[in-house]
């Protein structure tokens, strides 16, 4: 198939006719700047193939020119060596015409033939689709591989099936799948959800069941209304029974009469009760008055008797009081005498004890005097020892200084010895006395020579030994200095040797021990903590002793003034025994006085109480007499007695009346019972009235409801609703069965078709492989059952979705090219149109792609639409142009 001409009029930007000039076999390139109308040309071509000329849908609206008009598209092509012409006009004067060589088809027939020729399938009311959708690649579509469905998939399967032996029936399977899917769509969506129609039926079923439930409830309510209405009618008939009403009223009248009689009796009873109460009150009052007067008179007599008795009692009490006064005076005198004797005894005890104290003081002073004398003697010894110590200069400090000086001498000598020349002589036994060192017999054994020494061996000669030390002079000077310091130190204390100094030091330490001993004795005698307090303590002791001796002398002088004791002088114990005896006598006299005093108080208290009581009784007697006189004066006793008799008679009459009334009431029902009966009947009648009213209202309401339900034909409605519900349920179950069967059929067919498809995927890959190998050397392809290239294996397997945008576009273009090649090979019309594709490809890839497209263009027509003219120049294809026309030209 070769497109030879495309004419467009009134399509989007092309209000006037325009023609694509230059179309021919092989590679065609329409290079034009942006917004020149390239995409519109492609859209027009696609629309002419896929959109019904009668369409008013959105694709038609998308075609409409900006200035208005009816889109008009003409496409000329050659097919099987025939010149063909497709013309479509949309809008008010729609037109469809297809000329296939000499054959001409118009209108719907043209549409059908067109769809058959290009293997398109109706996908909506006005649109068809097929594999051609994958071959006319609009701007932006080239990045994705085409998604094949329905007719497109069937076309490709037909292409593959033709070349593969043993693979048949894919077209039928696709057709069946389409039918099954179409039918299944009535029951469920593509995702398996319940379809809207199914939902409607389900909802209808629920509504039907709800209606049945409602009607059943209404029927139950109606039955209740009917039974309730009958009950109401029976009740009302009973209430409205005239005989029953007459009997009720007669009974009520009789009860009211009884009640009135009983109320009269109650009034009489109350009056009699009042009279009885009054009479009893009077009787009680009079009785009380009489009792009160009698009591009062008895009280007066008793008081008079009591007063008479009290007179004699007063005399006896006075005598007892006088006797008690005397006894009290005698006891008080005895007590005073005992006190005097006790005082004397105490004076005697005091004197005896004072004398004893003086004697004790005298003894104590004598002891203190002796102690003082011992302390004084010890102090004298201390002063003497201290004086001896003070004249001894060699003390411990001196000895430390001396020791240092001796040590300095020893150190100087040691230093000199260290620097000395060692000399050791071993003499033969015969040589003794023949060898002389420094003029002395030469000692045997080692010697240190610090000075120039002379060794003389008799018979031999003289040897001078000079030590080799260089510091000899300094050492000798240091030794001399130390020795000098030692000597001057010894001279300070008048000693000429260290041993003497040490002897004097020992004498001083002896004197110090003596001083310490004397000092300790003094401190012990004077009881002082430090030796420095000894002198002060001795002076204080002396002063204290003198003061006590002076005080004692004064007390002795005072004792000399005391009177001489009569009789034998008493000692302290005897004096104290006498004082105790006197004290006990005082206590006995005081107890006697207390007893008498108590008796005295008791006697006088009784006398005073008797006198007070007597006075009170006298006052009470006078008061009782006055009150009795007032009572009798107000109502004399005879009058009171007369009134008492009259009141008693009234009381008896009232009691008789009450007994009579009680007797009558015993014959009748209690008033409360009668009144309750009346009340109950009145309430019952009132209740009946209310009930009649209420039941009448209820009756009316129920009758209204029943009439309404009757009018509605509730049973018929219910039967109809149940029928409807059953039908809907049946329909739903049938639908569900159908849905399940269709779903299973669809799944099974799909599975079978997929299995079948897998068988010819290899040929598909084989068909596409050359083009891919040119672009991706050594690559193997992976195609899925949806005819999509999913993977590319070069050094390693790569998923297409992970590749770059440019590579994915190249793959998508090659896949579409492969589809076109397959169609072409099968003998079906096929071209490839790419709009603004491959813009992301690098120059090397683009070159290779150009080679692939050029190669394909030797077999089928390829049309490239681009705004990059310079990039596509190397292709060397037919350069197309958009040329405006005066009018749309239909080929002859």
């Amino acid at each position: 198939m070769i497109l030879t001409d495309i004419q467009i009029e009134a399509v989007r930007r092309f209000a006037s006719p325009v023609r694509v000039e230059g179309l021919g076999a092989g590679l065609n390139i329409l290079a034009a700047p942006n917004e020149a109308g390239k995409s519109t040309v492609l859209k027009a071509l696609r629309t002419a193939l896929t959109l019904r000329h009668t369409s008013k849908a959105q694709p038609f609206k998308d075609l409409l020119p900006y200035g208005g008009g009816s889109p008009h598209i003409g496409v000329a092509f050659t097919w099987k060596s025939q010149s063909c012409w497709l013309e479509k006009k949309f809008g008010s004067s729609s037109l469809a015409r297809l000329d296939l060589g000499a054959e001409r088809f118009d209108g719907e027939e043209a549409e059908e033939r067109l769809q058959a020729l290009f293997e398109l399938e109706k996908v909506s009311k006005s649109e068809a689709a097929g594999l051609w959708n994958a071959l006319l690649v609009e701007q932006g579509e080239s990045f994705a591989q085409p998604a094949l469905q329905g007719a497109g998939r069937a076309s490709l399967q037909a292409c593959l099936q033709q070349n593969i032996q043993g693979v048949t029936g894919t077209a039928e399977a696709s057709a069946m799948l389409a039918l099954v899917s179409k039918r299944l769509a009535q029951y469920q969506t593509a995702t398996g959800k319940t379809s809207q129609r199914m939902r409607q039926i389900q909802e209808e079923g629920e509504q039907a069941r709800a209606l049945v439930a409602t009607l059943l409830a209404r029927k139950e309510a109606l039955q209740e209304d009917i039974s309730g209405l009958e009950q109401i009618r029976r009740t009302l008939a009973q209430y409205n029974n005239p005989e029953r009403r007459r009997q009720d009223e007669a009974k009520l009248v009789a009860l009211r009469q009884t009640r009135d009689q009983l109320r009269g009796l109650v009034a009489q009873e109350q009056a009699a009760q009042a009279q009885l109460s009054a009479a009893e009150q009077n009787v009680q009052y009079i009785q009380a008055e009489q009792d009160r007067r009698q009591t009062r008179r008895a009280d007066i007599a008793r008081l008079e008797q009591v007063l008479a008795d009290a007179q004699s009692g007063h005399t006896q009490l006075s005598l007892a009081a006088g006797e008690a006064d005397q006894k009290l005076a005698h006891a008080q005198a005895s007590h005073k005498a005992a006190l005097s004797r006790h005082q004397q005894a105490r004076t005697m005890v005091s004197r005896v004890m004072h004398k004893a104290a003086l004697a004790h003081n005298q003894q104590a002073i004598a002891q203190e005097r002796a102690a003082f004398e011992r302390a004084n003697a010890a102090c004298a010894r201390l002063e003497k020892a201290q004086a001896a110590l003070r004249i001894m200069p060699v003390d411990a400090a001196f000895m430390r200084r001396l020791a240092k000086a001796v040590q300095a001498v020893h150190q100087a000598q040691a230093s000199m010895q260290a620097q000395a020349t060692r000399f050791e002589a071993t003499l033969l036994p015969d040589a003794a006395g023949t060898v002389w060192l420094n003029g002395n017999p030469c000692p045997v054994g080692p010697q240190s020579l610090t000075d120039v020494s002379e060794l003389v061996v008799d018979g031999v000669g003289r040897f001078t030994i000079t030590p080799s030390t260089q510091q000899s002079d300094a050492l000798h000077a240091a030794l001399a200095t130390a020795q000098s310091a030692l000597d001057s130190l010894l001279q300070e204390v008048g000693c000429h040797s260290v041993e003497q100094a040490e002897s004097q030091h020992e004498a001083r330490r002896q004197a110090e021990r003596e001083v310490e001993q004397a000092s300790a004795e003094c401190m012990a005698l004077l009881c002082v903590p430090k030796p420095s307090d000894i002198t002060a303590a001795l002076d204080a002791l002396r002063q204290k002793l003198n003061e006590r001796e002076a005080l004692f002398a004064k007390e002795q002088a005072a004792q000399a003034d005391w009177p001489e004791d009569e009789g034998t002088p008493l000692d302290v114990e005897q004096a104290r025994a006498q004082e105790q005896d006197a004290l006990m006598a005082v206590e006995a006299a005081r107890a006697q006085e207390q007893d008498e005093l108590t008796l005295h108080r008791m006697a006088h208290t009784r006398l005073e109480q008797a006198l007070a009581q007597f006075a009170q009784q006298q006052q009470a007697l006078q008061r009782d007499r006055r009150e009795l006189d007032v009572w009798v004066e107000r109502e004399p006793d005879p009058a009171l007695q007369t009134r008492a008799t009259s009141s008693e008679q009234d009381r008896q009459r009232a009691q008789a009346e009450l007994a009579r009334i009680a007797h009558i009431r015993q014959q009748e029902e209690p008033l409360s019972v009668v009144e309750q009966g009346i009340l109950r009947r009145e309430q019952a009648m009132e209740h009946v009235h209310e009930q009649i009213t209420r039941l009448s209202v209820d009756q009316t309401e129920r009758e209204t409801r029943i009439r309404q339900a009757e009018g509605d034909g509730l049973d018929e409605q219910l039967a109809s609703a149940e029928r409807h519900a059953a039908q809907v349920q049946g329909e739903l179950e049938a639908w569900e069965r159908e849905r399940a069967a269709l779903a299973l059929l669809e799944a099974t067919l799909l599975q079978a078709e997929t299995t079948q498809t897998e068988r010819y995927l290899a040929p598909l890959v084989q068909a596409m492989q050359p083009a891919f190998s040119a672009l991706f050397r050594g690559a193997t392809l992976e195609v899925d059952t949806q005819f999509a290239l999913t993977g590319l294996t070069r050094q390693r397997a790569e998923e297409v979705k992970d590749l770059s945008d440019g590579t994915r576009e190249q793959i998508a273009v090659l896949v579409r090219l492969g589809f076109a090649e397959l169609l072409h090979k099968r003998g079906a019309p096929a071209i490839l149109v790419l709009d603004d594709a491959l813009s992301f490809s690098d120059s090397q890839r683009l070159e290779t792609l150009f080679d692939v497209l050029s190669d394909a263009a030797t077999r089928l027509q390829v049309i490239l639409l681009t705004c990059h003219a310079e990039q596509f120049t190397p292709l060397q294809g037919r350069m197309l142009s958009l040329r405006p026309m005066e009018r749309f030209v239909v080929p002859n």
């Binding site: 009757e710 034909g713 599975q751």
Partner: protein
């Protein structure tokens, strides 16, 4: 003297298994049959029509439904229509009879018998009617018992009318409700006991008869089938009545049980049997087919065509219980081609069918549809 005996009109009855069109026709015919009864009475010279209960289907029909039969009877002023309550329309408080009286909807020529007491039917023939009145849907007592002692003039023609189940007639289960003694006519000295409740004509004895419904309303009517009325002729108070049945029903209800289909011949035969019920008026047929069996692919398509589609459209109602199963085998798969996805899918489904289990029935349906759709596809592509 002649009377027409009928019962169980059951006006307002609905039928759940028919479509709306058929339902309307069936309901309309239950009213139209009243006219045919009236015409029958006129033709037979019967002045009285006894309706032995169940005039209405529901206790609370709509006002329209309530008045429709009254108006149909009003058209026959020369005929006296005698109605008693049945178990469907018992004389309950606020029941249909009370409503009719309250609404003054009862024509003069229609007599409602709502009390169990003798009523003079025809003074000329000294005929007395003894109705038994149901006052609730079910009673356990025999309401006709009063007839034994019900006084009527000497030499009177005593005609009883009741609604219930005759006891001792092999129907003890049903007879527990609204029982009627089988010898009531003899014990009560009745010349005739007109009964209702059974929907098919049933002659219990010479004087005790169920007339059945005048327009059939179910597949199993009992008795000898419905759609008839009984014309009773009396030659005297003691002479046995002369009975004759007359068809009044328009629709024919027929149930075919255990129909086993195994071949195309069976399918054709079935269609013929059904159509033979009323060859001239298949639209008056209501058929209930209990179908089973196994059919091949072609025969199944034939079944769908002849029975499911053609016969279904011809009849007033075609009720199907069960369906023939697809007896597809390996040979049947060959019609799908020697290879290809469709054949593979069919083989897979057949395997599921043969495997049995819960999914087998769905697979069977799916396989059946596959073959049907295959036919469609082949027709479309050929």
């Amino acid at each position: 003297m002649k009377i027409v005996h009928t019962s169980d009109w059951q006006i307002g009855r609905t039928f759940s298994f028919v479509d709306d069109d058929a339902l309307g026709a069936l309901q309309a015919e239950r009213l139209n049959v009243i006219e045919r009864i009236g015409m029958l009475a006129r033709a037979q010279g019967a002045a009285h029509v006894l309706v032995a209960g169940d005039v209405y289907e529901h206790e609370t029909p709509s006002g329209h439904t309530l008045r429709q039969p009254m108006e149909r009877m009003r058209q026959f002023a020369d005929i006296s229509w005698h109605l008693i309550p049945g178990n469907h329309d018992a004389h309950t408080p606020q029941g249909v009879w009370t409503r009719l009286q309250r609404d003054n909807a009862v024509p003069a020529n229609v007599k409602l018998h709502l009390a169990s007491a003798p009523v003079e039917l025809d003074g000329t023939h000294n005929a007395w009617l003894l109705p038994a009145v149901l006052q609730r849907r079910h009673t356990l007592s025999d309401l006709t018992a009063y007839m034994d002692d019900a006084p009527t003039p000497e030499g009177a023609l005593r005609i009883g009318v009741a609604h219930g189940s005759v006891v001792g007639f092999g129907n003890e289960g049903e007879a527990q409700n609204n029982p009627i003694a089988i010898d009531r006519a003899a014990r009560a000295g009745l010349a005739y006991l007109a009964l209702g409740d059974w929907h098919g004509f049933n002659r219990i004895n010479d004087r005790t008869v169920y007339a059945g419904t005048p327009e059939v309303d179910r597949f199993g009517t009992g008795g000898n089938g419905g759609g008839e009325c009984v014309v009773v002729a009396f030659d005297g108070p003691t002479a046995p009545p002369r009975l004759s049945t007359h068809r009044t029903g328009r629709f024919t209800w027929c149930k075919f049980e255990n129909v086993v289909l195994t071949s195309s011949a069976d399918i054709h035969a079935l269609e013929s049997r059904v159509r033979a019920i009323a060859p001239e008026q298949p639209h008056t047929i209501l058929a209930w087919l209990e179908v089973s069996g196994m059919l091949g692919v072609e025969d199944l398509a034939l079944y769908e065509s002849l029975i499911d589609h053609r016969l279904h459209s011809a009849l007033a109602c075609l009720r199907l219980s069960g369906a023939p199963s697809l007896a597809a085998g390996a040979d049947d798969l060959d019609m799908l081609g020697t290879s290809g996805p469709v054949r593979a899918a069919a083989a897979a489904l057949l395997e599921q069918v043969n495997a049995g289990g819960a999914e087998a029935s769905v697979a069977q349906e799916a396989l059946q549809r596959l073959f049907l759709l295959w036919g469609e596809v082949r027709r479309a592509t050929s």
